[in-house]
Amino acid sequence: MKSDRTLLIALMLPAAVVFIAFFLLPLANLFRIGGTGKMGWAAYGAVLTEPRYLSSLLATVALAAATTVATLFISGVAGVFLSRNRFRGRAVLTALLTLPLAFPGVVIGFMVIMLAGRQGLIPDITDALFGERLVFAYSMAGLFVGYLYFSIPRTILTVMAAAEKLDPRIEEAARSLGAGPLRVVRDVIVPALQPALLAAGAICFATAMGAFGTAFTLATKINVLPMVIYTEFTLQANVAMAAALSFVLGAITWAALALARTASGSSVAAAG
């Protein structure tokens, strides 16, 4: 058994070395560098004290929260519907809904341009209906649509997996006791799905906070924290500020996921 232990350590070692050398140490270094700028360690407070950074932090949090709420609603409805009903074409519909699961942010940005860009579908439709082209791809609204696009497939998967495990008899019981459909949803289905919704919501929130491929494609002037970090690093060459801001951003997303994990009791990982 003793040699077994040595073997297990030897098997874990390569992953551990790579992880420590290329993740933990660089992250610690990033934290140190965040304090070496003009502002010193106060850089870590700058995200709250500097109006410029605070406004983009608030905008990012609001965007991420709105994305999370809308995604949970849309994916919750579609996911429960798909897991509760059997009909022809259901498998194809499910496959199509989860196809964009791993589309990168840049490509999703282009999908938003296809929908709501200058030559997009929605402006064409509003032009035909109201005689005015509604173009909103290159703004916060476009980013919101992009993050919805990104979050819906994975959230539907999570909701469906959780809804399959629910006992339909509890719903039957509620119905036979006179509960209307809305009441069943509010008092039976939503509480039962809560852990899954919490876990999926945390992933939505964290990815919407930290992603920037979509914003990069749509417009570099959208005021979200990842874009600010990118600009500080590349255009301003303010490495210390970029380091401090990205460390704060990482702490927020990590905390959101950790919080959901403790609350839902299962492990959660963001993806994409």
Binding site: L8, P14, I74, R86, P104, M114, F212, S267
Partner: protein, 267 residues
């Protein structure tokens, strides 16, 4: 259920779900079509062409080859690092093992932007590392490793590994024989699903790669962003079409490989 007459609620919910599906699929279809039209303004009636695709392939094929190279190298690394790690985590149920599992997932929880910056400020000055595609590879391995570990771990946790291994051991199998003869064949489905996920994510990774790449090492998504920003919509669409041709078969295979399980969460 299906024999019963459908209620109005059913049709309303079906319409809602179809609308969500249209939201996801219509732009994919539009961009694929735009990539093969002569002129996007006049639409497909103006004629179809492969001209844009050929132009993109001529100008940007090096990004496709680099991305494929990085993705395959990333797969090799995550297999070598991740499968043994998952095996150890499956064998041990101590608090330390769970803590390691949590730590390994961190690169997915922390935005790629932060990880990339951390790598640049720490290793950016080391000789030629910054200029080689190996720098991108490091980022991709960090980001995709958790998916391989979790995918393999999920399968290992669902089988009775201990009994299988003890059986093999009592028959005189050495550790190497057990690992390659018993453990690996049993977690094959997890390795397949994990590998597809790793290749798919590596091919599409942008958040880190944008900072880690140099003008000499642009990957496919970096090239895409460049094309979206500076070239006409037909070129961007044709480029996206090439990306879809590579990524969609992988995503379909991924759906097939991970059908019974939820790829997002392992409990």
């Amino acid at each position: 259920m299906s024999a019963r007459r459908r209620s109005p609620t059913f049709w309303a919910l079906l319409a809602f779900t179809l609308a969500v599906c249209a939201f996801l699929i219509v732009p994919v279809w539009m961009s694929m079509l735009a990539g093969v039209t002569q002129n996007y303004f006049t639409g497909w009636r103006g004629g179809l062409t492969l001209g844009w695709v050929i132009k993109v392939w001529t100008d940007y094929r090096h990004t496709v080859f680099l991305s494929l190279k990085v993705a395959l190298a990333c797969l090799a690394c995550t297999l070598l690092l991740g499968v043994p790690a998952a095996y150890v985590l499956a064998r041990r149920s101590s608090a330390l093992a769970r803590a390691i599992e949590e730590l390994l997932v961190m690169p997915v929880a922390v935005p790629g932007l932060a990880t990339a910056l951390a790598l640049i400020v720490t290793y950016g000055g080391f000789g030629d590392v910054r200029r080689s595609w190996g720098f991108i590879l490091i980022g991709h391995v960090l980001f995709t490793l958790p998916f391989m570990v979790r995918s393999v771990l999920a399968v290992l946790a669902s089988i009775d590994l201990k009994t299988l291994e003890e059986g093999a051991r009592s028959l005189g199998a050495s550790f190497t024989q057990r690992f390659f003869g018993v453990v690996l064949p049993n977690c094959r489905s997890g390795i397949v699903a994990g590998s597809l996920m790793v290749v798919t994510l590596s091919l599409g990774e942008f958040n880190m790669t944008l900072l880690l790449h140099t003008p000499l090492t642009p990957t496919l998504p970096v090239g895409l962003a460049d094309a979206y920003a500076s070239l006409r919509i037909e070129v961007g669409s044709a480029y996206t079409l090439i990306f879809f041709v590579i990524i969609i078969p992988l995503l379909v295979a991924l759906q097939w490989a991970s059908r019974p399980r939820d790829p997002n969460a392992t409990s």
